[in-house]
């Protein structure tokens, strides 16, 4: 097990290294450079004349006159050694300040969404497989198709509309106004949870549709195995038999694709967050892209990807525990 863990940790570090290079490349992509944008932010409207010499000064201040590999090294070592993500110029503060608490809110959304996804997709997928070719099964397949086809922002807008007109409550934001700036308490946590329901449903929608089909397909394969027939012949009650043999195995592909679900959720997060007005990383990412505040964008992209890579690591461990055969193949 130790060898397995070490292997996986090293793999994770290598992947993150390449990811960080790619993220840095994206940060460098927008036309013009950071100094120009910084000067524009700071002096536009003040009537100050900016000369090329001023820009060079700013460049030297930020170390932008250094070659790209050196800047990459400075950026990544700041993150790894000091946890310092650099300067957020649109907010005139450090990136760490801007991101701060939002990481935890984002994690809360991710966790809550994954819980909803698995609580729905696993039992329902098993049910659909057991009752295959029934009306319920067809209805669930139709639902899965819709889950792929419906743009999530549309679902967000529709739920927002329904909740405002029918329930007369706003689902936007993550906190009610009275808790927004309050210190953490049980009531505030409850308030947060109640606000997480709608975003979690929207984000879980397509992941659920996908995993439901995976569980159903695996269950169908496993239901035909001899172990099931043998157990049935021994007179094991049907529900016990289902849980003992096929359901255990049907969970494996779900566990092994956990990081894909996280990827999917983070993919949809910025747009859903924009529509629902959620103050978390996805929304901030979108804003910083629009402002070309690339240090913030790069930091968020890196953090989100790290969460996905870490989920992958976790799912490898879970899988090794659930299904010891996996470790044998790898080891």
């Amino acid at each position: 097990m130790v060898k397995f863990l070490v292997q996986r940790t090293i793999g994770m570090i290598i992947t993150m290294f390449f990811v960080s290079m790619m993220v840095f490349a994206i940060m460098e992509l927008p036309p013009g450079d950071y100094a120009e944008r910084w000067a524009f932010r700071k002096f536009s409207g003040t009537g100050a004349q900016i000369t090329e010499a001023d820009l060079d000064n700013i460049r030297a201040n930020f170390g932008l006159d250094r070659p790209a590999p050196e800047r990459y090294f400075k950026w990544i070592s700041g993150i790894v050694l000091h946890g310092d993500f650099g300067e957020a110029f649109a907010f005139q503060t450090s990136v760490n300040n801007v991101i701060g608490q939002k990481i935890w809110l984002t994690l809360a959304i991710l966790f809550f969404t994954l819980v909803v996804t698995y609580l729905v997709s696993i039992p329902v997928g098993i049910y659909a497989a057991v009752r295959r070719n029934s009306i319920e099964d067809y209805a669930l397949t139709a639902f899965s198709y819709l889950g792929f086809a419906l743009p999530n922002f549309l679902l967000a807008l529709v739920l927002l509309y329904v909740s405002i007109t029918v329930f007369d409550s706003s689902v936007g934001g993550l906190f009610s106004p009275e808790y927004a700036d309050a210190p953490w308490s049980i009531d505030k946590a409850k308030d947060l949870l109640s606000h997480l329901v709608i975003p979690a449903i929207i984000l879980a929608w397509s992941a659920t549709a996908f995993q439901l089909q995976t569980v159903r397909a695996t269950m169908l394969d496993e239901l035909n195995t001899l172990s099931v027939t043998a157990a049935r012949a021994r007179g094991v009650p049907e529900w016990k038999l289902l849980l003992k043999y096929p359901a255990r195995l049907a969970i494996n592909p779900v566990v092994s694709t956990m990081s894909f679900d996280a990827n999917r959720i983070f993919s949809e997060l910025p747009i859903v967050a924009l529509v629902l007005g959620l103050p978390e990383l996805g929304e901030l990412l979108l804003k910083s892209y629009l402002d070309l505040d690339m240090f913030v964008a790069g930091a968020i992209l890196l953090i989100l990807t790290f969460m996905i890579v870490f989920m992958n690591f976790l799912s490898d461990i879970f899988l090794a525990i659930l299904d010891p055969r996996v470790k044998l193949i790898e080891g």
Binding site: L157, N263, Y289
Partner: protein, 384 residues
């Protein structure tokens, strides 16, 4: 390969008159004929293909099918609700559809403009009517529209806040969105073929490096990655430049999945006898891949291409929706949906959402078409 479903006895005897016409036709059919026959049994897949064909035609000839050009503003018809053509009113019924008369009046209490429908007025709808001039396919100067009206204006899907006809705009958007998907898929396919082909054919260290690269691209959340690339488009780019840049972005992020599939297929096939035979007779790698390997799994690749379409469409819509993709005056589904970003917009004018129906229908059609093709792609499968 067809011989697998012949019994040994049949295999030995040459095809004789005793075999039925149908069986002969089946045994002598080419692979694509077999695929076609199987696809014809898949009703849902055919329905998907039909819908997509209709959409493609509607998009291609958008100026003809739509009564207005996408930028015409009707100032007296701002945020008009969808108008359904009718055949009957109190005076009786007629075959020619008509729109009832509309009068706009300001409600003196709420101060909002309110429209009143006057059923006694018939505004007849004419077909092949002369209207605004346009260039069909960008070449032929024409001014005939499929339908139109002489008094007032006709808006089947209503109008937006600038008084532009949503029906006409949705058709134009169909052209943009579908074509961007097609170009994106083609470029992604070429990239995947070159990269995945190299990895799969040569294997070894090259394969390992390429595998790591695709892994990194796949682990970064997709839409945020797209957004990062799209955010880099200079503001002063023309809409054509943005359009082509968007196809590139969609392709750049779309190739890894395809590349993995091509690599896997090549790896499994490169040890086959006919490949070794080709290599021994002096064929180069690109000839072996193109002539001998690709045809062996072309049908699977086509299925993969069809399946990757919905993803491109949804990505384009999402990016344009948040303002990081195509920009007005280009009209695409995502650009149209920008108008429907807020709840207030839905409350005021729910018909601004009609373009979303196009997205849903297109994605669903591609999905069922992909399913149908996947079942048909392996025509020899049943015989086992």
């Amino acid at each position: 390969m067809t011989t697998t479903n012949l019994s040994p006895q049949e295999e030995q005897s040459p095809v004789t008159q005793t075999e039925s016409k149908e069986a002969q036709r089946y045994y002598s059919a080419t692979q694509f004929q077999l695929i076609w026959w199987r696809f014809r049994k898949h009703r849902l897949g055919q329905a998907g293909a039909l819908i997509l064909l209709t959409m493609a035609l509607a998009g291609l000839f958008a100026e003809f099918f739509g009564p207005y050009s996408g930028i015409t503003r009707t100032s007296e018809a701002v945020l008009v609700a969808p108008q359904a053509p009718r055949f009957c009113n109190d005076d009786g019924c007629a075959l020619r559809p008509f729109l009832p008369g509309v009068t706009a009046e300001r409600n003196m209490e709420t101060l909002r403009m309110e429209t009143k429908i006057d059923l006694s007025v018939r505004r007849d709808i004419y077909f092949f009517i002369k209207g605004e001039e346009y260039k069909l396919l960008g070449i032929f100067k024409m001014n005939t529209h499929l339908f139109g009206i002489e008094e007032g204006s006709i808006h089947l899907f209503g109008t937006d806040s600038l008084g532009r006809d949503i029906f006409s705009r949705a058709l134009l958007a169909t052209r943009t969105s579908l074509s961007i998907g097609i170009f994106g898929v083609i470029i992604a396919f070429v990239l995947a073929l070159v990269i995945g082909g190299t990895a799969g054919y040569f294997g070894g260290g090259l394969d390992y490096g390429i595998q790591r690269l695709t892994e990194v691209v796949r682990v970064i959340p997709v839409i945020p990655l797209y957004m990062g690339l799209a955010a880099a488009f200079p503001k002063e780019w023309s809409s054509t430049q943005v359009y082509f840049a968007m196809t590139l972005v969609l392709a750049l992020v779309g190739w890894p999945t395809l590349a993995r599939r091509i690599r896997g297929k090549l790896l499994s096939l490169r040890g086959e006898d006919y490949v070794i035979a080709a290599r021994l007779s002096g064929a180069g790698p690109s000839r072996i891949i193109a002539r001998h390997l690709l045809p062996a799994f072309m049908s699977y690749i086509i299925v993969d291409l069809v399946i990757s379409f919905p993803f491109m469409l949804l990505s384009e819509t999402a990016l344009s929706f948040v303002g990081l993709g195509l920009r007005p005056p280009t009209v695409s589904w995502g650009v149209l949906l920008q108008d429907a970003q807020t709840v207030r917009a839905i409350e005021q004018a729910p018909w601004l959402f009609i373009p979303a129906l196009f997205v849903i229908i297109a994605v669903l059609s591609f999905t069922v078409l992909g399913d149908g093709l996947r079942d048909a792609a392996d025509p020899y499968q049943v015989s086992n």
